[in-house]
């Protein structure tokens, strides 16, 4: 249903977010993942394809590669019929695996018409299981046999962030491809291209390097940020480097420095006040902690033991926050430990 919506020409052109609009249409367009692309390109020319398991960090192009592959295999009129895309937004319990996937997988495919000679048009169908790490283990177990039983006419593409969350018997049935997070150079080329397509102004293009820095190898984040910058600038709002951090949802460097000086101040009360302000300002404790880590690790004054102790505490606090602990309290515990560590090492150094 969704796909039909997306193909309605009246809505598509200007309304989709850039991430969707500038998704690579063919494998050649995919940035950086040369090995994966080369192997799959080979599959396109020969028309032979194993089951695939694509894994890697978010925004590295896994879904894009899978979709681009499907586009290249079949004529546009055909490929929607040949491809079933299931993601975490669809119900994927064991019943779906039993019914929907089995049903789709068991139908044979008709021979393509003659007007499709430009496409390899291989005689099988593809089921894309996006975000496969959220499929329940039960359902994954049910998939094992289905994959084998229907492998004559169906190929599976499993996509996930963490390969460890896919059960081993399932993973061993697929050709595994690891996606690396993108290096800034190849991201920049793509971003520049998008910026040109969208007629972004020079000042926006100047921000590209900063956008890349904040995106940290996540292409989707970079494109989303670029779009946000563009739409803000189009409406007349001024966007500079400091505003960029906020758009990306990260604590700006000045804020991190403020916390850092508070930690060095040797006073619990100063630190507590700063932490309180920071939570009132709405900065996420988790992101603050991850910004603190490199600073703590490279600090000259701290002794090795305190560094280790702090690292453990930060990891614990992070886990506690994910489990529902209060951000402010957890941040306070880490910071209070840091304050006393600094105090200790100061007295030792003297």
């Amino acid at each position: 249903m969704s796909d039909e919506l997306a193909t309605q020409p009246t809505l598509v052109q200007d309304n989709r977010p850039w991430v969707e609009r500038y998704r690579p249409k063919s494998l050649q367009e995919v940035s950086h993942q040369t090995e994966v692309v080369a192997t799959l390109q080979n599959a396109v020319t020969t028309g032979r394809l194993p089951h695939l398991l694509l894994y890697g960090p978010p925004g590295s192009g896994k879904t894009s590669v899978a979709l681009a592959l499907c586009r290249q295999l079949w004529h546009p009129s055909q490929w929607r019929r040949r491809v079933l895309e299931l993601n975490a937004s669809d119900e994927r319990g064991i019943s779906v695996v039993r019914n929907k996937i089995k049903h789709f997988a068991s139908l044979t495919v008709a021979k393509g018409n003659n007007d499709m000679e430009n496409y390899p048009n291989p005689p099988f169908k593809i089921i894309i299981l996006d975000e496969a790490d959220t499929v329940t283990p039960d359902a994954q177990a049910a998939l094992r046999r289905i994959i084998e039983a229907h492998s004559k006419i169906t190929r599976f593409i499993l996509i996930c962030n963490y390969v460890t969350r896919v059960i081993e018997p399932l993973a061993s049935r697929c050709a595994k491809f690891r996606f690396q997070s993108l290096p800034p150079s190849s991201m920049k080329a793509r971003l520049e291209w998008i910026a040109n397509e969208q007629n972004c102004s020079e000042s926006e293009k100047d921000l590209l390097d900063d956008i890349l820095e904040y995106a940290d190898g996540d292409m989707r984040q970079a494109v989303t940020t670029l779009q946000s910058v563009h739409s803000l600038a189009a409406g007349g709002a001024k966007v500079d480097k400091a505003a960029l951090a906020e758009i990306a949802g990260l604590p700006p460097p000045a804020i991190v420095d403020m916390l850092w000086t508070a930690l060095l101040s040797n006073s619990f009360d100063t630190m507590e006040k700063v932490v309180e302000t920071l939570s009132a300002e709405g900065f996420s404790a988790q992101l603050l902690l991850s910004a603190l880590v490199p600073k703590l690790v490279t600090d000259q004054d701290l002794n090795e033991l305190s560094k280790a102790e702090l690292a453990i505490r930060i990891a614990e606090a992070e886990k506690n926050m994910i489990e529902g602990g209060d951000e402010q309290l957890q941040l306070l515990t880490v910071c209070s430990l840091a304050v006393s560590c600094f105090e200790q090492s100061k007295t030792i150094n003297q």
């Binding site: 969704s2 919506l5 809505l11 598509v12 200007d14 309304n15 989709r16 977010p17 991430v19 969707e20 978010p58 993601n87 975490a88 937004s89 669809d90 319990g93 019943s95 975000e131 959220t134 996540d218 989707r220 984040q221 989303t224 779009q227 563009h230 739409s231 803000l232 600038a233 189009a234 409406g235 007349g236 709002a237 505003a243 906020e246 758009i247 990306a248 949802g249 619990f268 507590e272 009132a280 300002e281 709405g282 900065f283 996420s284 404790a285 988790q286 992101l287 606090a317 506690n320 926050m321 489990e323 529902g324 602990g325 209060d326 951000e327 402010q328 309290l329 515990t333 209070s336 006393s340």
Partner: protein, 361 residues
């Protein structure tokens, strides 16, 4: 009508602080087609909801403020029904999917797919109220996204992209770290910081001018300080003061703290004074009293820790905060809050007693 509601700004231009945010929002509203999904985060009472309502107003015109309360039932695949309140207008829908508990995933899937599958009626209609350049998409406002389960958040990921052409999401939350990274990276983040005390003073002043009474500067500053940077609370406090003195506000008038704060304050004093099993029993009664009055356990523990730390040594403070964090975390994991609250009190007594003994030994 309470002043909080009466003086809630309805237009983006009327918003009283965070000018850069207002400017950003109005630039988004002026060019709705390129508006990405939005992710509002910030502490309670900072004005997130007010900003969203104002944004919706400028996106869709007055139609967006014609709201009705709907009760919808969803059926999960396991044939269980979930009932959920939602606030809807012709253009947007506001739900707090966290209320559905474990079944929040189905609610998300259902609501967004349903919203996205039919077009915005306002966009195709040629009624007079439709602004030129109004948005052609509908908006789903999801409040308290931080309460959503992992599965529900995972369900959001691809849905957000797929249905983006007909439906935009506005996510609202207090606690950014409970929202998974893939969802965050799909949105334009808007941080709504709590207003500073000066900004609160200005808001209070403008309320007093509109209500035409005199607000002494000292009192405004006092209220702002007591409100802990929460505008909603500040305005409520102001109204409380006003009612108490029947309009004649004086500058040295005490700002009413809420009952439960005073209660916790008292509890803190008691347990620092005496550390005995009898005291612990008394503390339990107080804690029960607080819980019965619907004060959330994590608020109790946070306020109590803050009160306790007021006159402690630095080394002790560290220990208290450590344990407060520990038990607060336990509260969120467990299901019986009273145990953890009591454990915290007992722990504090032990720590404090030991400290005193060491001091005088």
């Amino acid at each position: 009508m309470l002043w909080v509601d009466k003086y809630r700004p309805v237009k983006l231009d009327d918003l009283s602080y965070h000018d850069t945010i207002s400017q950003r929002l109005s630039s988004l509203a002026s060019n709705p087609e390129s508006m990405p999904h939005l992710f509002f985060y910030g502490p309670a009472g900072a004005g997130k909801k007010t900003r969203i309502t104002a944004l919706l107003g400028s996106l869709y015109g007055p139609g967006a403020s014609r709201l009705k309360l709907d009760k919808r039932t969803f059926t999960t695949p396991t044939k269980r029904t979930v009932e959920l309140n939602m606030i809807t207008s012709n253009y947007h829908i506001e739900i707090s999917p966290g209320d559905a508990g474990l079944n929040d995933r189905f609610v998300i899937q259902d609501v967004i797919k349903e919203m996205a599958s039919n077009k915005n009626v306002g966009a195709s209609a040629t009624s007079s109220e439709r602004k030129s350049g109004a948005a052609t998409f509908k908006t789903v406002v999801l409040v308290e996204v931080d309460r959503l389960s992992r599965q529900a958040q995972a369900a959001l990921r691809r849905t957000m992209e797929k249905y983006a052409s007909t439906c935009r999401l506005i996510l609202v939350c207090n606690n950014q770290s409970k929202v998974i990274e893939p969802v965050r990276s799909r949105c334009l983040g808007i941080r709504v910081a709590a207003p500073t005390e000066d900004e609160i003073c200005k808001v209070l002043k403008s309320v007093s001018i509109n209500e035409s009474f005199m607000l002494p500067d000292e009192l405004a500053i006092n209220i702002a300080r007591e409100s802990s940077r929460n505008v909603r609370r500040a305005i409520l406090m102001l109204e409380a003061c006003y009612v108490q003195k029947r309009g004649a506000l004086t500058k040295d008038q005490p700002v009413q703290k809420t009952d439960w704060e005073l209660y916790i304050n008292q509890l803190a004093v008691e347990i620092t004074r005496e550390q005995t099993p009898q005291r612990l029993m008394a503390a339990r009664e107080k804690l029960y009293e607080l819980l019965v009055n619907c004060i959330p356990a994590n608020v109790i523990i946070k306020t109590l820790a803050k009160e306790l730390m007021k006159n402690l040594d630095d080394s002790l403070k560290r220990e208290v905060i450590e344990w407060a964090a520990f038990y607060e975390h336990r509260i969120s994991l467990g299901s019986k809050e009273i145990f953890h609250l009591e454990a915290f009190v007992a722990k504090f007594m032990a720590v404090y007693k030991k400290y005193l003994n060491d001091l005088f030994a």
